[in-house]
């Protein structure tokens, strides 16, 4: 959890500015108008799809537009048709919210505004409700344009991809380092599954927004190699071997995370020397433990040979990615 990155600070600034503007406006309205306005503002405030301004603009705009259309329909339809419409609306919208989870809050907002408009005792003319729905949308769009319009989204998304890869690596090595992995198998595997999902979502976002194929292919190679060295957690059934190499596993985890963190910093255009030396040392230490102890004691030493080989390939793939990313920066490996 990263508490205060630049992007998070921008989001908080956006929230505070909108809140202050809203409190200022509600003092000018009657309690009924203020209630409706406040409701609309804070629900639309929660709509956030991704880093692209035009995506967010489309989402807020579409939510407001469909909500307004729904309100107009309910205001002018006869009662029986209005009830039929209120029953039909969730049948149409809820499947869409499951097929497109990013639109879920928008869809719930449209349903909520429709139900509030028709069934609540709050009596406001429909024109007033429409204005009180459109006004916060305009304010939010303008505030986003001023505060949340980012022009470094490619780098931020690349850093996010590398961050997710780092978290996945930590959860994989947790199965080697923590002694109660075997007793809590589903918990650890669930965590790995969630990290995989978040990594794939971040990579998909990066792919759709940038389409830089050689970087994406290189990151996919890293991911595949990571899953290759993660196979040891299933193949090796003797937990004592992990205890023997516990310190080396921790060193490997730290070294890989350190390398990925260094690449994240480099992605912010901060010249930084990225060294994979610590990873090479950690792999070498692992080889020493293998040759000294594991080779003799393990029932299937081949599994650890394959593990060490996949770590070496990971090291090579990392070096390749560094070259691709920072060829112009003159980063030294």
């Amino acid at each position: 959890m990263r508490l205060l990155t630049t992007h998070v600070i921008q989001r908080w600034l956006y929230f505070l500015v909108v809140t202050f503007i809203t409190i200022g406006i509600v003092h000018l309205l009657s309690p009924q108008q203020a209630a409706w306005y406040l409701c609309a503002t804070f629900i639309l405030l929660l709509l956030y799809i991704d880093d692209l301004y035009h995506h967010r603009l489309r989402l807020i705009g579409a939510t407001t537009l469909f909500s307004c259309l729904s309100l107009l329909l309910l205001a002018y339809l006869p009662i029986s048709l209005a009830i039929f419409y209120l029953i039909l609306l969730p049948i149409i919208l809820i499947p869409i919210s499951f097929i497109k989870p990013a639109w879920r809050i928008s869809i719930y907002a449209i349903l909520l505004f429709s139900i509030l408009s028709y069934l609540s005792p709050l009596m406001l003319p429909v024109e007033m409700k429409l204005s009180l729905l459109c006004l916060p949308a305009i304010i939010l769009i303008v505030c986003q344009l001023i505060i949340l319009f980012s022009n470094r989204r490619e780098n931020r998304q690349l850093r996010h991809v590398l961050y997710r890869l780092k978290l996945l690596n930590s959860d994989i090595f947790a199965t080697y380092i923590h002694q109660h992995y075997a007793d809590n198998l589903y918990l650890y595997e669930r965590r790995i599954h969630i990290q995989k999902r978040r990594f794939l979502e971040a990579l998909e976002l990066y792919r759709s927004n940038t389409g830089i194929t050689h970087i994406i292919e290189s990151i996919e190679k890293l991911y595949d190699t990571m899953l290759d060295y993660a196979q040891l957690r299933f193949r090796n059934t003797d937990a004592s071997l992990f205890e023997v190499a516990n310190r080396e596993m921790q060193a490997l985890n730290t070294a890989i995370n350190h390398s990925l963190s260094a690449m994240m910093k480099q992605a912010r255009f901060q010249p930084h020397q990225i060294s994979l030396h610590s990873l090479k040392v950690a792999i070498s230490d692992m080889e020493t433990v293998f040759q000294g102890v594991i080779q003799v004691t393990a029932r299937e030493p081949l599994l650890f040979i394959l593990f060490i080989d996949s770590l070496k390939r990971f090291d090579e793939n990392l070096a390749d990615l560094i070259v691709i990313l920072f060829a112009d920066e003159g980063a030294r490996v």
């Binding site: 989001r11 209630a35 719930y108 609540s120 794939l200 190699t225 899953l227 196979q231 996949s310």
Partner: protein, 360 residues
């Protein structure tokens, strides 16, 4: 017409959720308006949220929604003692800020936090023009309405249009397994050729990406709901066992795709390829049998799943150095050893899955 039928069949769970929500909303409106004379909008909204639940723990989620909505009413009632509209504004801002923190930093609590927020806003709207009244009757009615809506929502998911977990589980797994059959077939063809066919590799990678998205995406039918807290303990361990092994298979494919096959010499490749191909073919046969079993069809299999592994081990021992330390003399040795280990792991996992599927 056929396309529509196929669409409905594939998305049946989602369409059923929508129908349940609509039925719950209609019922709650009828009951609260005509029978109980309670605030209808509250009941309808609560019934809607209590019926839009995932397959794993429908009752628990419905109960959580009802408790969340009841807490929101209690909060509004407490605030009404302030008899000042500013108290409401401040409370709304604070709650929004809390939800904003949850959305910005945590993803797990997103839905529950939003339910609380929505209901609180709704109550605020409902009571805003009576904010200076401390009316016990108003809030008691609101409590009853929420309770009625929640009960109707939960009843709809449990009894009226019940969620069938077993059917949803198998229906969610079959597309993934079919995709894995496809990927395994293409990998088998790719490994058999010993040509650095970039186009074939890209094709396999694209399909692998699709499969990974099926396993992990929020909008897929993959039965991820098995891992929800409170899932049926009777079904939990068996279903989790199967899901972990399905995911293990996807990792094995990733492992196979990561190997530097270009380092393997032609002679070694030609020696081992027939044995590897035989093992992979039987693995594909097992995958197809698994898919048939989950679909409720008859399993057709050759029955012998040991001899080919034994043959593969024997052929690998023939060409690999006797001392394992000499494996890294040539990168091709380790690459081949990895392929052999991966296909053997795949066989183990598939046999475990078949035993689990046959016992269910």
């Amino acid at each position: 017409m056929k396309q529509w039928l196929a669409f409905f069949r594939t998305n049946e769970p989602i369409i059923m959720i929508a129908i349940r929500a609509a039925v719950a909303m209609a019922l709650s409106f009828l009951v609260t308006y005509y029978v109980l004379a309670l605030p209808t909008a509250l009941a309808v909204i609560t019934a809607m949220f209590a019926s839009i639940v995932t397959t794993g723990t429908p009752f628990r989620q419905g109960l959580l929604v009802t408790i969340t909505c009841t807490s929101a009413i209690a909060l509004v009632y407490i605030l009404s003692f302030a008899a000042n509209i500013m108290a409401y504004y401040l409370a709304v801002c604070l709650i929004t800020m809390c939800v904003y923190v949850l959305i910005t930093y945590f993803e797990v609590l997103y839905n529950h936090a939003v339910y609380l927020l929505f209901v609180f806003y709704f109550l605020f709207v409902m009571t805003a023009f009576k904010v200076d009244l401390i009316n016990v009757q108003t809030f008691t009615n609101a409590l009853y309405a929420v309770f009625a809506g929640g009960v109707i929502g939960m009843t709809t998911t449990k009894f009226l249009l019940p969620i069938r977990q077993t059917k949803s589980f198998t229906a969610g797994l079959i597309p993934v397994i079919d995709m894995q059959v496809d990927i395994a077939t293409k990998i088998n063809a790719y490994l058999s050729q010993y040509t650095n066919d970039d186009e074939a590799l890209k094709n396999i990678k694209a399909q692998q990406q699709t499969m990974l998205m099926m396993l992990t995406a929020e909008n897929s039918t993959y039965p991820d709901w098995v891992f929800e807290v409170g899932f049926n303990p009777g079904l939990r361990s068996g279903y989790r066992y199967i899901l972990l092994r399905i995911e293990r298979l996807s990792e094995i494919y990733a492992s196979l795709m990561s190997l530097p096959i270009m380092h393997i010499t032609v002679e070694h490749w030609e020696k081992l390829t027939p044995a590897i191909k035989t093992v992979m073919s039987k693995n594909i046969e097992l995958l197809q049998a698994l898919s048939n079993r989950l679909a409720g069809n008859k399993i057709v299999s050759s029955g012998d799943y040991d001899a080919d592994i034994t043959q593969l081990n024997a052929e690998f021992k023939e060409f690999a150095p006797s001392d394992l330390q000499l494996l890294d003399l040539h990168p091709g040795y380790i690459a081949l050893a990895s392929i052999v280990q991966d296909v053997k792991d795949m066989r183990n996992v598939l046999l475990q899955l078949m035993i689990a599927a046959l016992n269910n």
